[in-house]
């Protein structure tokens, strides 16, 4: 258990954390803004990478590849959105159906293989695990990932301040009121799901480049990691009052903390095969805490509830 080993692993964990931070921002949009648990992301977290790597292997530039990955993610979100709103399937089930279907589609995209490698030496990648140390800062994987996060947060901050963005937030907050105010809540849910899955697929595209291959199983349990990041961000930075952009930033740092902690428990001797169980337990505990707190350590309610004037 040499501490040097841990320190050597941390920058990589940090870069990976920021890449997954993008994914977590996508999860935040559905889980927190729209108040929907969307499991499509377990599929889109593989789709984005598959599309991105295959596009690049077929000679497209990395930017085109990422754009198409983003659009593919949006398409997956659209499918879940339609299943949920137009077909009346509960959101969780709609997400599971899309995710399952995506597994076959992802294999098709990757020409029937479970993974597809891309060489950092032969292709112009944006980000790679080889560029974590000893490269100019602008090439550094952490720098690239943070740059993406900043741009995405800026765009989302603008978007959720627009009329359309506000109606999506209202839909998540109170669908009944939203319809009474003339908001098409079904449309808002679809747009939110598309945006979320587009961002997740973008993250997936970066993730695949970072690792040097796309993998049909890349998204297994992604929702749990995304939720972990959202919750950790909330727990760690929740005391600080900040605007929407700050909250998104907190979520992405939540992902970084998550990957740092994983690195530490690996260093402490946990087997990597056990990581999924570890993640599931962590998320379950954090999801349960607010409920248990309210149940067993109930303080007088200050707001909300069945308030009477």
């Amino acid at each position: 258990m040499e501490i040097v080993k841990l320190f050597n692993a941390l920058p990589g964990a940090c870069a990976q954390g920021f890449i997954w931070g993008i994914m977590a921002i996508g999860v935040y949009i559905t889980y927190k803004v729209l108040d929907l648990a969307d499991l499509t992301v377990d599929g889109t977290m593989a789709t984005g990478g598959a599309v991105c790597i295959l596009m690049m292997l077929n000679g497209h530039s990395v930017f085109v590849a990422l754009l198409v990955a983003f659009l593919a993610g949006m398409l997956a979100g659209l499918v879940t959105g339609i299943l949920h709103t137009a077909m009346g399937i509960p959101a969780i089930l709609a997400g599971i159906l899309t995710q399952l279907g995506l597994y076959s589609i992802n294999l098709r995209i990757m020409e029937g293989k479970a993974n597809q490698a891309i060489s950092v030496d032969k292709y112009n990648l944006l980000i790679s695990l080889r560029w974590v140390k000893g490269v100019p800062f602008y090439k550094n994987a952490i720098f690239t990932a943070v740059l993406f996060i900043m741009v995405i947060i800026a765009i989302l901050y603008w978007f959720f301040g627009t009329e359309l963005g506000c109606s999506i937030r209202a839909t998540g907050s109170n669908p009944h009121m939203s319809r009474a105010q003339g908001i098409n809540t079904n449309l808002c849910k679809i747009i939110g799901l598309m945006l979320s899955n587009g961002i997740v697929a973008l993250s997936s595209g970066l993730c695949a480049q970072y690792q040097g291959f796309s993998d049909v199983n890349a998204g297994r349990g992604a929702i749990v990691i995304g939720l972990a990041a959202v919750i950790i961000g909330q727990v760690v930075f929740g005391k600080i009052r900040g605007n929407f952009a700050f909250k998104l930033l907190a979520v992405s740092f939540g992902a970084v903390i998550y990957y740092m902690v994983l690195q530490v428990v690996l260093w402490l001797g946990l087997e990597s095969n056990d990581l999924k169980l570890f993640s599931a337990i962590i998320v379950a505990v954090f999801l349960a805490i607010p409920y248990l707190k309210g149940k067993y350590f109930a303080k007088p309610v200050k707001k909300g509830g069945a308030s009477r004037a």
Binding site: M177, G182, S307
Partner: protein, 264 residues
């Protein structure tokens, strides 16, 4: 302004819970009518407002608002014509959005929502002025989350939101029932002021017979999913609570008016 023609609505048809909540209801409102609606529990009052608002489709019959046939229109599309306040103070506002953001959502009712900014500076000043009318001090808390407000404050805000963009029809479903008497009186006062100022066509459900007599220019009583008593003008002004109770007893076949209707 509003024309309801023979509408029928049966919930859970073909099951043990089958319930015909509206049975051939017909009602016409002239522009500027302020109609109070009374009736026992389950009379179909809320169902009538929900039918007008398009929460679900009616089984039969037609609904016109200002001459437009809205019978097949989705809820969010009809909202362009309507202002609504609900019984539960939680229903009418988005709790985790700011007061000013809620108002901004209401101002855009009936408009296409695109990528323009969700709330402009001029709007904010306008909201500040409008909030003053409520006399609740909300004008100083424009950026507070609505979830922090009391039930009465939320109802007053919902009322303001419902009327911010002048609706063709204002639907109030027992909007003061969840409030304590003092706050309820205040919100009713604000209602009168706002309805009077813009001469809004209004349907107001209430369980308080006195309020039903004092407010508005017309009163209707519902029973079994239809209107059984309709009175307006001087005749309405002269009404006594006892008259209404007698009417109600007669309609419900001797069975006495329920407790909630007895209040005051």
């Amino acid at each position: 302004m509003l024309k309801i023609e023979e509408i029928w609505k049966t919930f859970n048809p073909g099951t043990v819970n089958e319930k015909t909540a509206l049975s051939g209801l017909t009602l016409e409102l002239k522009e500027g009518d302020f109609v109070t609606v009374i009736g026992g529990n389950g009379a179909g009052k809320s169902t009538m407002l929900n039918a007008v608002a398009g929460v679900w489709k009616v089984d039969e019959g037609k609904i016109f608002i200002d001459g437009v046939n809205v019978t097949g229109l989705a809820e969010h599309k009809r909202a362009a014509y309507l202002g609504r306040v609900f019984q539960d103070p939680m229903t009418g506002t988005a709790a985790n959005m700011q007061i000013q953001e809620n108002l901004a959502l209401a101002l855009r009712r009936g408009k296409l929502r695109g990528l323009r900014i969700g709330i402009t500076r001029e709007e904010r000043e306008e909201y500040q002025e409008k909030l003053k009318i409520l006399e609740l001090g909300l004008e100083d808390r424009m950026t507070s989350k609505v979830g922090l407000l009391s039930g009465g404050q939320r109802q007053a805000l919902t009322l303001l939101m419902a009327t911010l963009k002048k609706p063709k029809l204002l639907l109030l479903d027992e909007h003061t029932a969840a409030l304590d008497p003092k706050t309820a009186a205040k919100v009713l006062e604000a209602t009168d002021r706002i309805v009077g100022k813009d001469n809004l066509t209004t349907l107001m459900i209430t369980h308080n017979m006195k309020d039903a007599i004092i407010h508005g220019n017309r009163l209707i009583m519902m029973h079994g999913g239809r209107i059984i008593y309709d009175v307006s003008g001087d005749e309405k002004k002269k009404l006594k609570v006892a008259d209404l109770l007698a009417k109600f007893e007669q309609a419900s076949g001797g069975e006495f008016a329920n407790d909630r209707m007895m209040l005051t």
